[in-house]
Protein backbone atom coordinates (compact mmCIF):
# COMPACT_ATOMS: atom_id res chain seq x y z
CA UNK A 1 0.00 0.00 0.00
CA UNK A 2 2.72 2.42 0.94
CA UNK A 3 4.48 1.51 -2.28
CA UNK A 4 1.43 2.53 -4.22
CA UNK A 5 1.10 5.78 -2.29
CA UNK A 6 4.80 6.36 -2.88
CA UNK A 7 4.64 5.90 -6.61
CA UNK A 8 1.50 8.01 -6.70
CA UNK A 9 3.38 10.77 -4.96
CA UNK A 10 6.21 10.45 -7.45
CA UNK A 11 3.86 10.62 -10.40
CA UNK A 12 2.23 13.61 -8.78
CA UNK A 13 5.56 15.45 -8.43
CA UNK A 14 6.28 14.82 -12.09
CA UNK A 15 2.86 15.61 -13.49
CA UNK A 16 2.13 18.80 -11.57
CA UNK A 17 4.70 20.72 -13.63
CA UNK A 18 3.07 19.71 -16.88
CA UNK A 19 -0.35 21.08 -16.26
CA UNK A 20 -1.55 22.03 -12.78
CA UNK A 21 1.48 24.13 -11.89
CA UNK A 22 2.73 24.78 -15.39
CA UNK A 23 5.54 27.30 -14.93
CA UNK A 24 4.60 29.54 -17.83
CA UNK A 25 0.81 29.38 -18.03
CA UNK A 26 -0.09 29.09 -14.36
CA UNK A 27 2.81 30.52 -12.39
CA UNK A 28 3.82 33.02 -15.15
CA UNK A 29 7.52 32.39 -14.53
CA UNK A 30 10.31 32.35 -17.07
CA UNK A 31 8.56 34.76 -19.38
CA UNK A 32 11.61 36.38 -20.91
CA UNK A 33 12.86 33.30 -22.78
CA UNK A 34 9.29 32.16 -23.35
CA UNK A 35 8.69 35.20 -25.51
CA UNK A 36 12.10 36.11 -26.82
CA UNK A 37 13.12 32.93 -28.61
CA UNK A 38 9.78 31.40 -29.54
CA UNK A 39 9.69 32.85 -33.05
CA UNK A 40 10.38 29.41 -34.52
CA UNK A 41 9.59 25.91 -33.28
CA UNK A 42 13.23 24.81 -33.45
CA UNK A 43 14.41 27.68 -31.28
CA UNK A 44 11.64 26.97 -28.78
CA UNK A 45 12.64 23.32 -28.58
CA UNK A 46 16.34 24.14 -28.21
CA UNK A 47 15.59 26.63 -25.46
CA UNK A 48 13.34 24.11 -23.71
CA UNK A 49 16.01 21.42 -23.81
CA UNK A 50 18.79 23.75 -22.66
CA UNK A 51 16.61 24.85 -19.74
CA UNK A 52 15.82 21.20 -18.96
CA UNK A 53 19.51 20.37 -18.75
CA UNK A 54 20.25 23.31 -16.46
CA UNK A 55 17.23 22.75 -14.23
CA UNK A 56 17.78 19.03 -13.78
CA UNK A 57 21.51 19.25 -13.15
CA UNK A 58 21.26 22.12 -10.71
CA UNK A 59 18.39 20.44 -8.87
CA UNK A 60 20.53 17.32 -8.42
CA UNK A 61 23.45 19.34 -7.12
CA UNK A 62 21.36 21.52 -4.83
CA UNK A 63 19.48 18.62 -3.29
CA UNK A 64 22.77 16.76 -2.76
CA UNK A 65 24.34 19.78 -1.10
CA UNK A 66 21.31 20.99 0.83
CA UNK A 67 22.74 20.13 4.24
CA UNK A 68 26.10 21.74 3.42
CA UNK A 69 24.91 25.08 2.03
CA UNK A 70 24.69 27.72 4.78
CA UNK A 71 21.24 29.23 5.02
CA UNK A 72 22.34 32.86 4.80
CA UNK A 73 24.05 32.53 1.43
CA UNK A 74 21.84 29.88 -0.11
CA UNK A 75 20.46 32.06 -2.92
CA UNK A 76 23.92 33.14 -3.98
CA UNK A 77 25.05 29.53 -3.92
CA UNK A 78 22.12 28.44 -6.07
CA UNK A 79 22.87 31.19 -8.56
CA UNK A 80 26.51 30.19 -8.81
CA UNK A 81 25.54 26.55 -9.35
CA UNK A 82 23.02 27.54 -12.03
CA UNK A 83 25.50 29.87 -13.72
CA UNK A 84 28.04 27.06 -13.89
CA UNK A 85 25.62 24.75 -15.70
CA UNK A 86 24.51 27.53 -18.02
CA UNK A 87 28.13 28.13 -18.96
CA UNK A 88 28.40 24.40 -19.72
CA UNK A 89 25.31 24.50 -21.94
CA UNK A 90 26.51 27.67 -23.64
CA UNK A 91 29.82 26.09 -24.63
CA UNK A 92 28.18 22.77 -25.57
CA UNK A 93 25.73 24.46 -27.95
CA UNK A 94 28.48 26.63 -29.40
CA UNK A 95 30.56 23.52 -30.10
CA UNK A 96 27.91 21.16 -31.49
CA UNK A 97 25.12 23.31 -32.90
CA UNK A 98 26.66 26.67 -33.81
CA UNK A 99 23.61 27.62 -35.89
CA UNK A 100 21.19 27.35 -32.99
CA UNK A 101 23.70 28.99 -30.67
CA UNK A 102 23.95 31.98 -32.97
CA UNK A 103 20.18 32.24 -33.29
CA UNK A 104 19.54 32.12 -29.55
CA UNK A 105 22.49 34.42 -28.85
CA UNK A 106 22.63 35.99 -25.42
CA UNK A 107 19.39 34.32 -24.41
CA UNK A 108 21.24 31.10 -23.56
CA UNK A 109 23.33 32.99 -21.04
CA UNK A 110 20.12 34.55 -19.77
CA UNK A 111 18.84 31.12 -18.65
CA UNK A 112 20.71 32.01 -15.45
CA UNK A 113 18.11 34.58 -14.56
CA UNK A 114 15.12 32.45 -15.49
CA UNK A 115 13.10 32.75 -12.28
CA UNK A 116 11.70 29.27 -12.87
CA UNK A 117 15.07 27.61 -12.16
CA UNK A 118 15.92 29.58 -9.04
CA UNK A 119 12.34 29.17 -7.87
CA UNK A 120 12.50 25.37 -8.06
CA UNK A 121 15.79 25.28 -6.14
CA UNK A 122 14.38 27.41 -3.35
CA UNK A 123 10.94 25.84 -3.25
CA UNK A 124 11.71 22.20 -3.92
CA UNK A 125 15.26 20.92 -4.39
CA UNK A 126 16.55 22.46 -1.17
CA UNK A 127 13.93 20.58 0.87
CA UNK A 128 13.54 17.21 -0.84
CA UNK A 129 15.51 14.08 -1.69
CA UNK A 130 17.53 13.77 -4.88
CA UNK A 131 15.05 11.41 -6.51
CA UNK A 132 12.03 13.62 -5.93
CA UNK A 133 13.98 16.70 -6.99
CA UNK A 134 14.90 15.07 -10.29
CA UNK A 135 11.26 14.19 -10.91
CA UNK A 136 10.13 17.69 -10.00
CA UNK A 137 12.79 19.25 -12.23
CA UNK A 138 11.91 16.94 -15.13
CA UNK A 139 8.21 17.68 -14.77
CA UNK A 140 8.73 21.42 -14.54
CA UNK A 141 11.05 21.51 -17.52
CA UNK A 142 8.70 19.30 -19.52
CA UNK A 143 5.97 21.80 -18.70
CA UNK A 144 8.24 24.65 -19.71
CA UNK A 145 9.21 22.99 -23.00
CA UNK A 146 5.55 22.22 -23.67
CA UNK A 147 4.66 25.87 -23.08
CA UNK A 148 7.52 27.03 -25.31
CA UNK A 149 6.25 24.80 -28.12
CA UNK A 150 2.67 25.98 -27.54
CA UNK A 151 3.88 29.51 -28.19
CA UNK A 152 6.51 28.70 -30.79
CA UNK A 153 4.57 26.42 -33.13
CA UNK A 154 1.60 28.75 -33.81
CA UNK A 155 3.98 31.70 -34.12
CA UNK A 156 6.04 29.94 -36.75
CA UNK A 157 3.00 28.64 -38.63
CA UNK A 158 1.30 32.04 -38.74
CA UNK A 159 4.42 34.15 -39.09
CA UNK A 160 6.38 32.24 -41.71
CA UNK A 161 3.98 29.55 -42.89
CA UNK A 162 6.27 26.71 -41.90
CA UNK A 163 6.84 24.23 -39.09
CA UNK A 164 10.33 23.10 -38.03
CA UNK A 165 11.54 24.89 -41.19
CA UNK A 166 9.30 22.77 -43.45
CA UNK A 167 7.03 24.93 -45.56
CA UNK A 168 3.38 24.08 -45.01
CA UNK A 169 1.30 26.12 -47.38
CA UNK A 170 3.40 26.61 -50.47
CA UNK A 171 4.22 29.86 -52.20
CA UNK A 172 0.69 31.29 -52.14
CA UNK A 173 0.78 31.86 -48.36
CA UNK A 174 1.04 35.43 -47.22
CA UNK A 175 2.97 35.26 -43.92
CA UNK A 176 1.61 37.14 -40.96
CA UNK A 177 4.94 38.78 -40.26
CA UNK A 178 3.94 40.42 -37.00
CA UNK A 179 3.65 37.02 -35.33
CA UNK A 180 7.39 36.36 -35.53
CA UNK A 181 8.21 39.91 -34.45
CA UNK A 182 8.20 40.87 -30.76
CA UNK A 183 4.51 41.96 -30.56
CA UNK A 184 3.47 38.52 -31.81
CA UNK A 185 5.06 36.94 -28.74
CA UNK A 186 3.07 39.15 -26.40
CA UNK A 187 -0.16 38.52 -28.31
CA UNK A 188 0.33 34.77 -28.51
CA UNK A 189 1.05 34.37 -24.80
CA UNK A 190 -1.80 36.74 -23.96
CA UNK A 191 -4.28 34.70 -25.96
CA UNK A 192 -2.96 31.41 -24.60
CA UNK A 193 -3.39 32.70 -21.04
CA UNK A 194 -6.88 33.77 -21.98
CA UNK A 195 -7.59 30.23 -23.12
CA UNK A 196 -6.15 28.85 -19.90
CA UNK A 197 -8.33 31.17 -17.81
CA UNK A 198 -11.36 30.14 -19.79
CA UNK A 199 -10.58 26.46 -19.28
CA UNK A 200 -10.00 26.93 -15.54
CA UNK A 201 -13.25 28.85 -15.17
CA UNK A 202 -15.23 26.26 -17.07
CA UNK A 203 -13.92 23.32 -15.09
CA UNK A 204 -14.65 25.19 -11.87
CA UNK A 205 -18.22 25.82 -13.00
CA UNK A 206 -18.63 22.19 -13.95
CA UNK A 207 -17.39 21.00 -10.57
CA UNK A 208 -19.81 23.40 -8.88
CA UNK A 209 -22.66 22.16 -11.02
CA UNK A 210 -21.83 18.56 -10.23
CA UNK A 211 -21.73 19.37 -6.54
CA UNK A 212 -25.15 21.03 -6.57
CA UNK A 213 -26.64 18.15 -8.53
CA UNK A 214 -25.24 15.66 -6.05
CA UNK A 215 -26.50 17.52 -3.00
CA UNK A 216 -30.03 18.02 -4.28
Amino acid sequence: MSDLADSNKRAEEFLKGLWKENPVFVAVLGMCPALAVTNTAINSLAMGLATTFVLVSSSILVSLLKSVIPKQVRITTYIIIIATFVTVVDFLLAAYTPGVHKELGAFIALIVVNCLILGRQEAFASKNTVGLSILDALGMSAGFTFAMLCIGIPREILGSGSLFDISLFGAGFEPWIVMILPPGGFFMLGFLLLGFNWHAKRSKERALLKQTVETT
Binding site: A36, A83, V113, P182, G190, L193
Partner: protein, 191 residues
Protein backbone atom coordinates in the same frame (compact mmCIF):
# COMPACT_ATOMS: atom_id res chain seq x y z
CA UNK B 1 29.24 62.16 -30.44
CA UNK B 2 26.81 61.15 -33.19
CA UNK B 3 27.57 57.56 -32.39
CA UNK B 4 26.71 58.05 -28.72
CA UNK B 5 23.37 59.66 -29.57
CA UNK B 6 22.50 56.71 -31.80
CA UNK B 7 23.44 54.21 -29.10
CA UNK B 8 21.18 56.05 -26.67
CA UNK B 9 18.20 56.32 -29.02
CA UNK B 10 18.60 52.77 -30.21
CA UNK B 11 18.55 51.38 -26.66
CA UNK B 12 15.75 53.72 -25.59
CA UNK B 13 13.32 53.27 -28.45
CA UNK B 14 14.28 51.02 -31.32
CA UNK B 15 15.68 48.06 -29.43
CA UNK B 16 13.72 48.75 -26.27
CA UNK B 17 14.80 46.16 -23.70
CA UNK B 18 11.32 45.34 -22.52
CA UNK B 19 9.24 45.68 -25.63
CA UNK B 20 11.53 44.22 -28.25
CA UNK B 21 14.02 42.04 -26.33
CA UNK B 22 11.50 40.86 -23.70
CA UNK B 23 13.96 41.53 -20.89
CA UNK B 24 12.77 42.40 -17.40
CA UNK B 25 9.24 41.17 -17.93
CA UNK B 26 8.65 40.03 -14.34
CA UNK B 27 8.68 43.54 -12.86
CA UNK B 28 7.11 44.83 -16.08
CA UNK B 29 4.00 42.77 -15.40
CA UNK B 30 4.27 42.64 -11.61
CA UNK B 31 4.89 46.22 -10.48
CA UNK B 32 3.03 48.11 -13.16
CA UNK B 33 -0.32 48.51 -11.42
CA UNK B 34 0.52 51.93 -9.99
CA UNK B 35 2.14 54.68 -11.99
CA UNK B 36 4.31 56.01 -9.20
CA UNK B 37 5.71 52.66 -8.10
CA UNK B 38 6.41 51.79 -11.71
CA UNK B 39 8.36 55.02 -12.15
CA UNK B 40 10.38 54.39 -8.99
CA UNK B 41 11.20 50.86 -10.05
CA UNK B 42 12.33 52.26 -13.38
CA UNK B 43 14.66 54.66 -11.60
CA UNK B 44 16.07 51.83 -9.47
CA UNK B 45 16.62 49.93 -12.69
CA UNK B 46 18.52 52.81 -14.28
CA UNK B 47 20.67 53.12 -11.18
CA UNK B 48 21.54 49.42 -11.07
CA UNK B 49 22.18 49.43 -14.81
CA UNK B 50 24.68 52.26 -14.52
CA UNK B 51 26.51 50.39 -11.75
CA UNK B 52 26.39 47.24 -13.85
CA UNK B 53 27.89 49.07 -16.81
CA UNK B 54 30.83 50.26 -14.69
CA UNK B 55 31.35 46.80 -13.21
CA UNK B 56 31.13 44.97 -16.52
CA UNK B 57 33.61 47.40 -18.07
CA UNK B 58 36.07 46.79 -15.25
CA UNK B 59 35.58 43.03 -15.44
CA UNK B 60 35.88 42.94 -19.21
CA UNK B 61 39.06 44.99 -19.32
CA UNK B 62 41.01 43.52 -16.46
CA UNK B 63 39.66 40.12 -15.55
CA UNK B 64 37.77 38.38 -18.31
CA UNK B 65 40.45 38.56 -21.00
CA UNK B 66 42.31 35.99 -18.92
CA UNK B 67 39.31 33.81 -18.08
CA UNK B 68 36.44 34.21 -20.56
CA UNK B 69 34.61 31.16 -19.20
CA UNK B 70 34.04 32.99 -15.90
CA UNK B 71 32.06 35.70 -17.65
CA UNK B 72 28.59 34.65 -16.59
CA UNK B 73 29.45 33.81 -12.99
CA UNK B 74 31.40 36.98 -12.38
CA UNK B 75 28.72 39.17 -13.96
CA UNK B 76 26.07 37.58 -11.77
CA UNK B 77 28.05 38.05 -8.59
CA UNK B 78 28.91 41.65 -9.39
CA UNK B 79 25.30 42.45 -10.24
CA UNK B 80 23.96 40.72 -7.13
CA UNK B 81 26.30 42.69 -4.90
CA UNK B 82 25.49 45.95 -6.62
CA UNK B 83 21.78 45.31 -6.05
CA UNK B 84 22.50 44.64 -2.37
CA UNK B 85 24.25 47.97 -2.31
CA UNK B 86 21.25 49.80 -3.77
CA UNK B 87 19.02 48.05 -1.27
CA UNK B 88 21.12 49.09 1.71
CA UNK B 89 21.47 52.64 0.46
CA UNK B 90 17.72 52.90 -0.14
CA UNK B 91 16.85 51.51 3.26
CA UNK B 92 18.99 54.21 4.84
CA UNK B 93 18.21 57.15 2.54
CA UNK B 94 14.56 56.67 1.73
CA UNK B 95 12.62 54.10 3.79
CA UNK B 96 9.40 55.14 2.02
CA UNK B 97 10.78 54.23 -1.34
CA UNK B 98 12.17 51.02 0.12
CA UNK B 99 8.71 50.08 1.33
CA UNK B 100 7.07 51.07 -1.95
CA UNK B 101 9.32 48.80 -4.00
CA UNK B 102 9.06 46.01 -1.46
CA UNK B 103 9.85 42.55 -2.69
CA UNK B 104 10.75 43.61 -6.19
CA UNK B 105 14.04 45.27 -5.37
CA UNK B 106 15.89 42.03 -4.56
CA UNK B 107 14.25 40.61 -7.66
CA UNK B 108 16.23 43.04 -9.81
CA UNK B 109 19.10 40.65 -9.08
CA UNK B 110 17.43 37.99 -11.14
CA UNK B 111 16.24 40.58 -13.62
CA UNK B 112 17.27 39.60 -17.09
CA UNK B 113 17.41 43.23 -18.18
CA UNK B 114 20.41 43.82 -15.94
CA UNK B 115 22.37 40.75 -16.99
CA UNK B 116 21.26 41.29 -20.57
CA UNK B 117 22.74 44.77 -20.49
CA UNK B 118 26.11 43.43 -19.33
CA UNK B 119 26.09 40.70 -22.00
CA UNK B 120 24.90 42.86 -24.89
CA UNK B 121 27.35 45.65 -24.22
CA UNK B 122 30.13 43.06 -24.02
CA UNK B 123 29.03 41.46 -27.29
CA UNK B 124 28.90 44.85 -28.97
CA UNK B 125 32.37 45.67 -27.67
CA UNK B 126 31.40 48.98 -26.11
CA UNK B 127 34.02 51.04 -24.27
CA UNK B 128 33.43 52.86 -21.00
CA UNK B 129 31.55 55.94 -22.25
CA UNK B 130 29.57 53.97 -24.81
CA UNK B 131 28.67 51.42 -22.13
CA UNK B 132 27.40 54.11 -19.78
CA UNK B 133 25.32 55.73 -22.53
CA UNK B 134 23.94 52.32 -23.48
CA UNK B 135 23.01 51.65 -19.85
CA UNK B 136 21.30 55.02 -19.60
CA UNK B 137 19.33 54.40 -22.79
CA UNK B 138 18.38 50.88 -21.82
CA UNK B 139 17.33 51.93 -18.31
CA UNK B 140 15.37 54.82 -19.76
CA UNK B 141 13.70 52.42 -22.17
CA UNK B 142 12.70 50.04 -19.38
CA UNK B 143 11.35 52.97 -17.34
CA UNK B 144 9.46 54.29 -20.35
CA UNK B 145 7.83 50.91 -20.99
CA UNK B 146 6.96 50.48 -17.31
CA UNK B 147 5.42 53.95 -17.04
CA UNK B 148 3.45 53.52 -20.26
CA UNK B 149 2.02 50.18 -19.20
CA UNK B 150 1.25 51.44 -15.69
CA UNK B 151 -0.54 54.48 -17.13
CA UNK B 152 -2.67 52.33 -19.39
CA UNK B 153 -3.41 49.86 -16.59
CA UNK B 154 -4.54 52.68 -14.31
CA UNK B 155 -6.99 53.72 -17.00
CA UNK B 156 -8.30 50.19 -17.47
CA UNK B 157 -9.36 50.08 -13.84
CA UNK B 158 -12.40 52.25 -14.57
CA UNK B 159 -13.36 50.21 -17.60
CA UNK B 160 -15.78 47.34 -17.68
CA UNK B 161 -13.54 44.42 -18.63
CA UNK B 162 -14.80 40.84 -18.83
CA UNK B 163 -13.63 38.74 -15.88
CA UNK B 164 -11.82 36.32 -18.12
CA UNK B 165 -9.71 39.03 -19.65
CA UNK B 166 -8.45 40.59 -16.41
CA UNK B 167 -4.94 40.08 -15.09
CA UNK B 168 -1.90 38.92 -16.98
CA UNK B 169 -3.70 38.14 -20.22
CA UNK B 170 -4.87 41.72 -20.62
CA UNK B 171 -1.47 43.11 -19.61
CA UNK B 172 0.25 40.98 -22.22
CA UNK B 173 -2.08 42.12 -24.95
CA UNK B 174 -1.58 45.77 -23.94
CA UNK B 175 2.17 45.12 -24.00
CA UNK B 176 1.81 43.62 -27.47
CA UNK B 177 0.09 46.75 -28.74
CA UNK B 178 2.76 48.94 -27.11
CA UNK B 179 5.44 46.80 -28.69
CA UNK B 180 3.77 47.19 -32.06
CA UNK B 181 3.79 50.95 -31.59
CA UNK B 182 7.49 50.87 -30.75
CA UNK B 183 8.17 48.94 -33.96
CA UNK B 184 7.35 52.18 -35.70
CA UNK B 185 10.66 53.57 -34.46
CA UNK B 186 12.56 50.95 -36.46
CA UNK B 187 12.67 53.25 -39.47
CA UNK B 188 14.68 55.86 -37.58
CA UNK B 189 17.98 54.29 -38.52
CA UNK B 190 17.50 53.82 -42.24
CA UNK B 191 16.81 57.49 -42.98
Amino acid sequence: MDNLIWIFISALLINNFTLSYFLGLCPFLGVSSKLETAFRLGLANIFVMLITAVCSYVLNTWVLIYAPYLRLISFIIVIASSVQFVEMALKKLSPDLFRALGIFLPLITTNCAILGLALFSTNKGYGFVEGMVYALGAGGGVTLALVLLAGIREETRVLNIPNLMQGTALNLIIAGILSMAFMGFAGLFST
